[in-house]
Amino acid sequence: MITSHLIVLLILLLPSTGQAYLDPGTGSMLIQGVVAAVALAAVTLKHYWYRLLRFFGRSKENPEDEAENSKQRSEEAPD
């Protein structure tokens, strides 16, 4: 997570250069790797955080897991 934040910080510090249009796709390809890694790390951390809370009896379920489960339930249900 800290590494991911450092990467985000590094990109943040990239100089915002010029208006020229050469290859706008390269930046998009690179940033999505970083954003995806952070997103995955966040999902994983949240998952373990809620498991920890559940272990100590503080919370029943990760609300996102719950949402995901209900989404799966609705997708499984016949239309």
């Binding site: 985000v8 995806a36 239309d79």
Partner: protein
């Protein structure tokens, strides 16, 4: 539906970007050509079950495979998709419609990945509205997913969906009209500049828009060689990461809510001069007139629908109703009402009739103008004429000709000068509208229409007319 804008090759002018195929019209029927080199990809998409799964969920337009109506043989295959009654564009959708179109695109992409496919583009123009349900229309947008490959449409998704939603939510709702100026989506550097500083603290906007724009700008100045090296360094994006990216985009989209905006019509029905008696009489008259219309009613266009109250009355006749209004809040409220309570055969859209959508894109042909698309069996112009004639100084006979060329039947409400709403419009103006009275209105419209009936609306000074056009249809719908 016939489409007016075509290239000399016969291909529809809106479908030249993708080498996999194109759309064309033959004998007033819409077809999609799948080019030979893309046929294997298309067959795979159908054979793996993804096509049927998306169609079953009503996420993708269904089609049948047919013989080439032009008689050509041996080059790919021909699809005949179900035609939608009315084509709309993202710059005509309300905030919630754009949001739902974004969420549909992400759902389609997630489902595609489950079947080993991926969307190769994420343009908002790939989505249409079938009534108030968004539906993906580009059957050739699916390519086989290569494990580890980043999502090639990520930039386009951010430009077409997240950027306009964020700018409208955090800055000003009218900025969604930027989509008209930038048909490949709002450039991310522009979105980043427009968004207020506090959005740098929203992680989803920071990452998908602000940092994304920075990264684009950084690599835009690199030489082709350096960019190519940088691309090699992109490395692989494992599927789990890609799914996390889609989750993150979905969360970002869901977090966007329209800023509260006061609009002209927000409390229209609270401060209108309508009594409930007048409103119910007007609805009764509308039903009576619709009952007297001869011929099939397939499409009704309500060109000043406000929150869609009378569109819903008209929809009882089974026709598809396009319910259009200038007020963003009224359209959003109409859409939300319809998605929750139905009926589903009404398409709400934003329309400023005094400045409707122009034709845009290559050769001004890619996206049709409103004037080219406007056309219905019945046009409703309720509580509209005073806005056109008084607020916008439009001569009545010009209004009559515009309508007469685009419908068979017109149900129009005349709102006289002594109506309190018209008085409000004229309160700060010199009265230059000597012809604006019932006689002037009838004489202007009689040149283009045959007036079948006129009935005064109870408890108002207004009159409702049923008219039949004398002119030939110019529009391209139906």
């Amino acid at each position: 539906m016939t489409r007016l804008n075509r290239f000399p090759s016969g291909a529809d002018a809106s479908s030249f970007r993708d080498p996999a195929g194109y759309v064309f019209v033959f004998d007033n029927i819409l077809y999609r050509q799948v080019n030979e080199k893309a046929e294997a990809e298309y067959r795979g998409f159908v054979d793996c079950g993804l096509y049927q799964c998306l169609v079953d969920k009503q996420w993708l337009i269904e089609h049948i495979e047919v013989q080439d109506p032009r008689g050509r043989t041996g080059s790919g295959c021909i699809l005949q998709p179900r035609e939608l009654p009315y084509i709309s564009y993202p710059y005509e959708w309300s905030f919630q419609q754009l949001k739902d179109a974004a969420l549909l695109t992400l759902s389609v992409q997630r489902m595609a990945l489950q079947y080993g496919y991926s969307l190769k583009d994420a343009s908002a123009f790939n989505v249409q509205f079938d009534g108030c349900s968004p539906i993906f229309i580009d059957t050739l947008s699916f390519e086989r997913y290569q494990d580890g490959k980043p999502w090639v449409a990520y930039r386009q998704f951010c430009q077409h969906f997240l950027a306009p939603l964020a700018v409208a939510a955090h800055k000003e709702h009218r900025l969604r009209k930027l989509a008209l100026a930038y048909i490949d989506g709002i450039p991310l550097d522009l979105a980043s500049k427009l968004l207020p500083g506090k959005t740098w603290l929203h992680y989803s906007l920071l990452s998908h828009l602000h940092l994304h724009a920075r990264a684009q700008a950084h690599y835009a100045d690199h030489s082709a060689d350096k960019s190519s090296k940088a691309r090699k360094n992109v490395g692989i994006l494992p599927k789990a990461h890609l799914l996390a990216l889609l989750e993150s985009l979905e969360a970002a989209v869901r977090k966007q809510h329209p800023a509260s905006f006061d609009t002209e019509w927000k409390n229209y029905y609270d401060r209108t001069n309508y009594s409930s008696r007048a409103a119910s009489h007007k609805a009764e008259l509308l039903e009576t007139f619709l009952g007297k219309v001869t011929g099939t009613i397939r499409l009704i266009q309500d060109l000043g629908s406000n929150n869609g109250h009378y569109s819903r009355v008209a929809a009882k006749y089974g026709a598809y109703v396009v319910s259009q209004d200038v007020d963003a809040n009224a359209v959003d409220s109409n859409y939300r009402h319809l998605t929750q309570h139905g009926p589903k055969n009404i398409l709400p859209l934003e329309l400023d009739l005094t400045t409707p959508s122009p034709a845009v894109g290559w050769a001004n042909s890619e996206r049709m103008s409103f004037a080219d698309r406007c056309g219905a069996d019945v046009i409703l112009a309720l509580a509209l004429i005073h806005h056109l004639a008084i607020s916008n100084n439009l001569p009545l006979d010009e209004v009559a000709i515009f309508f007469a060329e685009r419908c068979r039947w017109l149900i129009i409400e005349f709102v006289p000068k002594d109506d309190s709403q018209t008085e409000r419009l004229m309160s700060a103006r010199t009265d230059i509208f000597s012809e604006y009275n019932e006689t002037g209105f009838e004489s202007a419209f009689e040149r283009s229409f045959r007036i079948h009936e006129k009935i005064a609306i109870e408890a108002t000074h207004r009159t409702l007319y049923l008219m039949e056009s004398r002119l030939e249809r110019q529009a391209n719908n139906n």
